[in-house]
């Protein structure tokens, strides 16, 4: 248990790919049991930052703490123990296209539990019910629409009832009603399972809807963090320009 009540902490994280510096001394704490939304420009390193939290990407410099333990120097084998506490929804869902929906959602259950097959299948239908997709067990991912794939991805992410769920742009590319549905799912999942959620988004409305805590990533750093109200009232011009979607301001658009 970390002293600050943060389940995940990124400390002074630097990351570059070739000559391109993506994260430049980023500091961020994710409070336990809440939904934190990270907003910021497309291509601004939000996904990169998210992938640091689960050890998919390692920083060039800095620390990533999960419950106070630095995961940066862990081997894949050691990381597996940490990763079991996480669920992650990928941008394009990343379902295994060689398996049907049922096997996809059952995958983490079969890998990490010794539950009898009957119970696994029950859990799969329960999770698919939770994301509003009952009865699609035998479809292949290629037969589903983008929104359905994301919901199956969410069902897979929550299959093991993780403590922490990471969402990589859950609503990008979806139509407004579906975005709203996904946002509601995120909020419901958080309430039902009492998990810590980290959501990456550039959908401002959704961010204010699901987030109890909002952080803005700009030029490789977190420039503001606080409750939705605090972010709305922020005096930072970059934050104001971003949340109001204005073309003019300190953010160079073109």
């Amino acid at each position: 248990m970390s002293e600050t009540g943060n389940i995940i902490e990124l400390k002074d994280v630097y990351k570059s790919f070739g000559a391109q510096q993506v994260l430049k001394g980023l500091n961020l704490g994710i409070p336990r049991g809440q939904t934190t939304v990270i907003i910021g420009r497309s291509g601004g390193g939000k996904s990169v930052m998210l992938k640091h939290m689960i050890g998919l990407i390692k920083p060039n410099q800095g620390e990533v703490l999960v419950d106070g333990i630095n995961i940066v120097r862990m081997s894949d084998h050691q990381l597996n123990g940490v990763r079991r506490r996480f669920g992650m929804l990928f941008q394009e869902a990343a379902l295994f296209d060689s398996m049907n929906v049922q096997d996809n959602v059952a995958f983490p259950l079969r890998e990490h539990t010794k539950l009898p097959e009957r119970q696994v299948l029950n859990l799969v239908s329960e999770k698919l019910g939770m994301v509003g997709l009952p009865g699609v067990e035998h479809k292949m991912p290629s037969e589903l629409s983008g929104g359905m794939r994301k919901r199956v991805g969410l069902a897979r992410a929550i299959a093991l009832e993780p403590e922490i769920i990471l969402y990589d742009e859950p609503t990008t590319g979806l139509d407004p009603p579906l975005s709203a549905a996904i946002n509601r799912l995120i909020a419901e999942t958080q309430q039902k399972l009492g998990v810590t959620s980290v959501v990456i988004s550039h959908d401002i409305e959704g961010a204010f809807l699901v987030g109890q805590n909002i952080a803005m990533l700009y030029q490789g750093k977190i420039i503001a963090q606080g409750s939705p109200q605090e972010i709305r009232d922020s005096s930072d011009e970059v934050v104001q320009q971003f949340i109001h979607g204005r073309a003019e301001g300190p953010i160079e658009v073109i």
């Binding site: 689960i54 894949d76 990381l79 990763r83 079991r84 990343a94 296209d97």
Partner: protein, 258 residues
């Protein structure tokens, strides 16, 4: 310093090549490590054995039969100049078991299965399915690479022995059936000149080529970047690099073994 450019290019290529060789070796070491850790994924292994082995049976038989046949035809023309037609059978049999069986089979399987491994893993990489495995605390090297390597190492010798046999049958059909070499002589010369070690060394080579083609295929797929184009590039490079490594290592192995 314009005159240094060519050197830079050569040096850069060399460094890139070294880097790639290092990464390939690392993937191999990781695979060995994860091979020995439970869980042992037998189902995935059998699936890959079916894909690499059973799936390549058709092309292996065709390759073997025609190679044996054409080899008999060519050597007959040469040997008949000095009346040594009786040696056609043993020549073909030795060439097939020691060289052509393992090498041609491996090249065909590289084109068929090595490329498929690169394409499949490459697609999984660019669609984040490999990341998803990591996230679900399943090591992708263990889940994807290990079964493919084990299956290839196990199945290539099996395919090779089939190619050897079918090749000799092909040579028999051409030599005895079409060209009129005496049946008894054809067979007895094979038995006289061929040792068991000719076959077994060929099979050792085949197993090694199986390691190469699967490792290269998985390596190119595993480190794919750049979307659909990247997957295409990975597939091509897997076949080219795999084939080149098979041919080059064939020389080294042969020099060491025989």
């Amino acid at each position: 310093m314009g005159w240094l450019r060519p050197m830079e290019m050569v040096g850069g290529k060399f460094l890139h090549w070294l880097e790639e060789a290092g990464e390939l070796l690392l993937l191999f070491l990781q695979s060995v490590l994860w091979m020995m850790r439970p869980p042992f994924r037998l189902q995935l292994l059998f699936k890959q054995m079916e894909f690499v082995g059973v799936g390549s049976l058709g092309v292996t038989i065709l390759t073997g039969a025609f190679t044996g046949g054409v080899f008999a035809l060519q050597s007959y023309h040469g040997f008949s100049l000095f009346g040594a037609e009786s040696l056609v059978g043993s020549t073909v049999a030795l060439a097939l078991t020691r060289e052509l069986g393992p090498v041609l089979t491996s090249l065909m399987v590289t084109g068929r299965a090595g490329s498929a491994m690169a394409a499949e893993l490459g697609t999984m990489r660019v669609t984040e399915q490999i990341d998803a495995l990591y996230v679900m605390a399943v090591n992708p090297v263990q889940y994807l690479v290990v079964p493919r390597i084990l299956a290839s190492v196990a199945m290539l010798p099996v395919l090779t022995i089939i190619a050897d046999f079918v090749g000799i049958v092909g040579a028999y059909v051409v030599g005895v059936g079409l060209l009129g070499i005496n049946h008894g002589i054809f067979i007895s010369k094979i038995i006289e000149y061929m040792d068991f070690s000719d076959i077994s060394m060929g099979l050792v080579k085949a197993a090694f080529f199986g390691l190469i083609l699967s490792l290269v295929g998985c390596f190119k797929g595993f480190y794919t970047s750049g979307g659909a184009e990247g997957v295409g590039r990975a597939t091509t490079r897997a076949v080219v690099l795999g084939s080149v490594l098979i041919l080059a290592s064939d020389y080294v192995l042969t020099a060491m073994m025989f």
